[in-house]
Structures are given as structure tokens and as C-alpha cells.
Amino acid sequence: MTDPASHPSPGAPLLSLRGVNKSFGAVQVLRDVDLDVYLGQVTALVGDNGAGKSTLIKGVAGIHAFDGGEFLFEGHPVKVTGPKQANDLGIEVVYQDLALCDNLDVVHNMFLGREMKRGITLDETTMEQRARETLSGLSVRTLKSVRQTVASLSGGQRQTVAIARAVLWNSKLVILDEPTAALGVAQTEQVLALVRRLADKGLAVILISHNMNDVFQVADNIAALYLGQMAAQVKAADVSHGQVVELITAGRSGDLGIQKAVVTA
């Protein structure tokens, strides 16, 4: 729908990571990773299994804080050590396993952990109102009722609810972890359209994906992780399918990527 190339020059990045590291025990999962994420753009984060994509976003989301490196948000260094702090900055994550409670309805899920209150009791009316407005604002019209339980929704609808929850909070950065992994063709299209709409509304979006078609369909920027290192962050318009695949599988592609330390014998 939207041509990524037509986007205006993005200005200063909303989120900048500089040289972040993360180890679990003896295993170093992230090594000196740099990442820039811009408002109004979809930044695709790609990489093979175990490349560190999930660890990187969990660091940004405050689930597992980074061990070291700079975390700049809106140009200021910040410390994010818990999900609440990330949320307070305007960072929202839509996890791969969706992190929805099947037993609760759409409204309850969208406000999970941040319920609105009137006095000591829940303000259901206002929450329902805001949930509806947010879904309408995203042109979501596949939900019959915001009072259905999430268990009764299809995969695409669940993904939609998870995304709507992420934008409910005037968030600035929405991170989506493989939002189309479990979806059929039609639902994938719907979700990708929604992802693009988020960026077009001015949000910064990080999209984690294994699917090159998805990436090239919606991304403005592509950041490729290779074995815990940032191989390259490039404009989607500047690279080909094949180059991205090489960055993912080998960490380099021609001049792009991690240049081999000279070990030629």
C-alpha cells in the first residue's frame, strides 16, 4: 500500500542502542549491538534462530535488562529494568505467544495490568469505550464484540487485539515479535496492513520476522542480527531479498555486514 521510499527523512532516531551486551551465564547472546529506530518507520529485525532477536527486544522491553551499552530514548540515556519503565517511556511489546489471557474478554486484555478505576472499583464503561475507540482508530472491523473472551477469537483477531493493546497507551514504539508466524494468508495481509498503519500514524515500529515477503512488504529499515552481532542496518529500498538472506545466514553480503577479521591463510 504505502511506498516506503516515499517517507520523509525521519530525523533523529526515537530509540538508539549503542554497543549493548547481554549474557546469560557464560553465554554471550548480544555483542555490542547498535540499533536505530525512527518514528513513522517500520524497522524489521531479522536474523536466524538464536541470533538474539528475542533477547534484544526483551532488553528494550525491560524483561531482561541489558548488561551494558547505551540505551537512548528520544535522545536521552535511560535505564529500563522492568516492563513498567518501558511502558512509561511509551514502549509496548506484542509478544509472539501474544501474552493474552484466554479467560478474559477483549477489553480486559487490552487493559491488563493497567485497569482504569472509579473509586476502588473498575471503570468498565470507560475502558470499553476506549477499547472500542482504539480498535476503530486502527480500522479494525473484524471483531464482533469487545466483550467476547479472547479464547473465542481467531489467530488474526488475537493478534489484532494484542496490537490494539499496544497502541492504547499513546505509545511511541511498538515492537511486534513475529506477528504473522501462526497466521494464514488472508490474516497475514490484515495484520501487515495494520502494522503499516501504525507507522503511518507516526509510531515507531520494530517488526521481528522470519518471512522476507513480510519484511519487504512493510519495512522501511532492515536490521539483521547474526550470532548476537548487528550485521547491518540498511534501508529496505537499498537491498535485495538475496542480500538480506546473506546477512542473516552469513553475517555479510558483499560490502555489507560484518567484515571478516583477516584469517586468510
Binding site: 501474552a99 489471557c101 479467560n103 478474559l104 477489553v107 495490568g113 493497567r114 472499583t121 464484540s145 495481509e189
Partner: protein, 329 residues
């Protein structure tokens, strides 16, 4: 990509929210209620004594302990844990309260506070062991069942602890308010407060989220361990309330009373539609579930079923009810 769909309707879904309706809809108290009606009709046909105001007041009084503890158990089970120690907490809280009154000048208010504090404290221990050490609550509370019961026998030397305090009896069992026996007032108060807490507050929502999907709850910033600890504490507190009502009824606290009562409590909660896997359940359902237990206990006696058979019949009906509800789900 096709985005040529017509203009979106202004809203998504039209159901105006009615919290009470949503609460009723969220599970199936209707079917449980139907089962209760069937039982009442059944016993009424078999015995003319059963269907009378006096007998219903009886059932209300007899059901008090189970209902009050079942409210706490509902929170615990919705948070995807279980508390097998409630009957033992009742014993220990009761004898602690009674011993305190016996030895410290019959101050019933302080005695009651001691009873409630003991119950809440054991709940706290249950919660801490379950969440901090990661031992399944089934095992923690099974152990606590023995510990609390044993302690109750130890500190009383296995003898009933007599209470002689008219005010205490009045407040917890013998008084009336607006013509209603006070145990029924206590039950109504616990049901109301429990219902509001579970269905209309942030805490209640956290309980559902914790039991429904603990990972999602944690990712949403909910401290699921703390939620579970509070649920166990509430269960302990309400077992303490039940212990005071029982002590006021018996004019004594007895360490040998209430063996196996936790099974009635858990049965009431499950009959009421609360899922043993967590995440689902209502206070109204629990209330109806405990009324079913009460009607069974009372009706089987009235129609003259021998007490040995009563136990078996009650178990059978519980299995049937749960099997029925499992099939419906």
C-alpha cells in the same frame, strides 16, 4: 494488498457493558442453580419437613462455614492454586482465639483478632512456600493440613477449649440483625465483599489474569506471586472467620472438629463452576455450590439416609456434577 474495503463502522461491537450481566455470563451459575432447584424439589417431594422456613434457616446456618471458606478458596483456585489446609487452619485459629480469651481476661475482640491473625499468617506461609520455593500448592497445603492440625492438638493437649463470653457468642453466632441469624449476616457480608473484590476491582482482575495466563500477567506488569500470596492469605483469613463462628456456636474451640471439611469447601467451589485449572469462576457460583452441599447434607439426613451412605452419595453427586460441567465446557 486489498485495502479497498468500505468505510469502517464507527464502533466495534455494540454490547453496552453491564458488569453484573458480564459476571453472570462469564460462567454458568444458571446450570448450577438449576441443579440446586432440582435437589430442593427432590428432597421436598420425599419429605414434608424439608421445605419449610425453619429448615431453610437451618441450611443457611449449617452452610455458613463452608460458604465463608469457599469464598477464599474461590480466589485461590481462580489463581490456579489450591488450599487443602483450610479445615486445619480453622482448627488452629479457633483454639488460638479460645486459648487467648481463656488466658487473657476474656477480651473477645483481641481473641477474635488473634484467631484471624493466625489464619492469615498460615495463609501467608502457604503463599510464600508456593511462590518462593515453587513447590506446588497441592503439596504445600497438604503438609500444612498436617502441621496446623497437629499444632492445634499440641497446644490444647487434644481437649476442647471452652469459651465463656456472651458477647463473643452474640457477635458470631447467637445474635440476630433484623430478625436474621448472625451467621447468615456474616455469610452475606463475606459473599458481598468477596464478590466485589473478585469482580469489580483491579485485584480481582489480577487474580483472573494470574490463573488464566501467568506469563501474560507477568508481561503486563502483574506481580503474580504477590497475587497468589494475597489469595492464600484471604483463604486463611476466612478460615479464621469460620473458626470464630464455629467456636461461638459450640461455646468451645475443638481441635478434633472439621476433619475433611476442606473437601466440602473445594466441592462447593468446583460445583459452582470454578475451574480447577484456574482463570474461571464466580462468587455467585460458589455461593450456589455451597448451597448444594448444604442442601445435600441436610436433605440426606431428613430423608433418613444413613450417615455412611450420605458420604458415598455426596461424593457420587459431586462426581456427576463435575463430569456434567466438564462435558458442557
Amino acid at each position: 494488498m486489498s485495502t479497498t474495503t468500505p468505510e469502517a463502522p464507527a464502533t466495534v461491537g455494540d454490547s453496552r457493558v453491564n458488569p453484573v450481566k458480564a459476571m453472570l455470563k462469564s460462567d454458568r451459575p444458571y446450570t448450577v442453580f438449576a441443579a440446586l432447584i432440582v435437589l430442593v424439589v427432590f428432597f421436598s417431594v420425599l419429605s414434608p419437613v424439608f421445605f419449610s422456613a425453619a429448615n431453610f434457616a437451618n441450611i443457611g446456618r449449617q452452610t455458613t462455614l463452608v460458604t465463608i471458606m469457599a469464598v477464599g478458596m474461590t480466589f485461590v483456585i481462580i489463581s490456579a492454586e489450591i488450599d487443602l489446609s483450610v479445615a486445619s487452619i480453622l482448627k488452629l485459629s479457633g483454639v488460638c482465639a479460645a486459648l487467648f480469651m481463656q488466658n487473657f481476661g476474656e477480651n473477645w475482640v483481641l481473641g477474635a483478632v488473634v484467631g484471624l491473625a493466625v489464619g492469615t499468617f498460615i495463609g501467608l506461609i502457604n503463599g510464600l512456600l508456593t511462590t518462593r520455593l515453587g513447590i506446588p500448592s497441592f503439596l504445600v497445603t497438604l503438609g500444612m493440613l498436617g502441621v496446623a492440625k497437629g499444632l492445634a492438638f499440641v497446644i490444647t493437649d487434644t481437649a476442647p477449649v471452652l469459651i465463656d463470653n456472651t458477647a463473643f457468642f452474640k457477635v458470631f453466632y447467637e445474635g440476630t440483625i433484623l430478625g436474621l441469624p448472625i451467621p447468615i449476616i456474616w455469610t452475606a457480608a463475606v459473599l458481598t465483599i468477596g464478590g466485589v473484590l473478585l469482580h469489580f476491582t483491579t485485584f480481582g482482575r489480577k487474580v483472573y489474569a494470574t490463573g488464566g495466563n501467568a506469563v501474560a500477567a507477568r508481561y503486563s506488569g502483574i506481580n503474580t506471586s504477590r497475587v497468589k500470596i494475597y489469595c492464600f492469605m484471604l483463604s486463611g483469613l476466612l478460615a479464621g472467620v469460620a473458626s470464630l463462628i464455629f467456636a461461638a456456636q459450640a461455646h468451645a474451640a475443638r481441635p478434633d472438629f472439621a476433619d475433611g471439611l476442606e473437601l466440602d469447601v473445594i466441592a462447593a467451589v468446583i460445583l459452582g463452576g470454578t475451574s480447577l485449572f484456574g482463570g474461571r469462576g464466580t462468587i455467585i457460583g460458589t455461593f450456589i455450590g455451597s448451597l448444594i452441599i448444604g442442601v445435600l447434607n441436610n436433605g440426606l439426613v431428613i430423608i433418613g439416609v444413613s450417615s455412611s451412605w450420605q458420604i458415598a452419595v455426596k461424593g457420587l453427586i459431586i462426581i456427576l456434577a463435575v463430569a456434567f460441567s466438564a462435558r458442557k465446557r
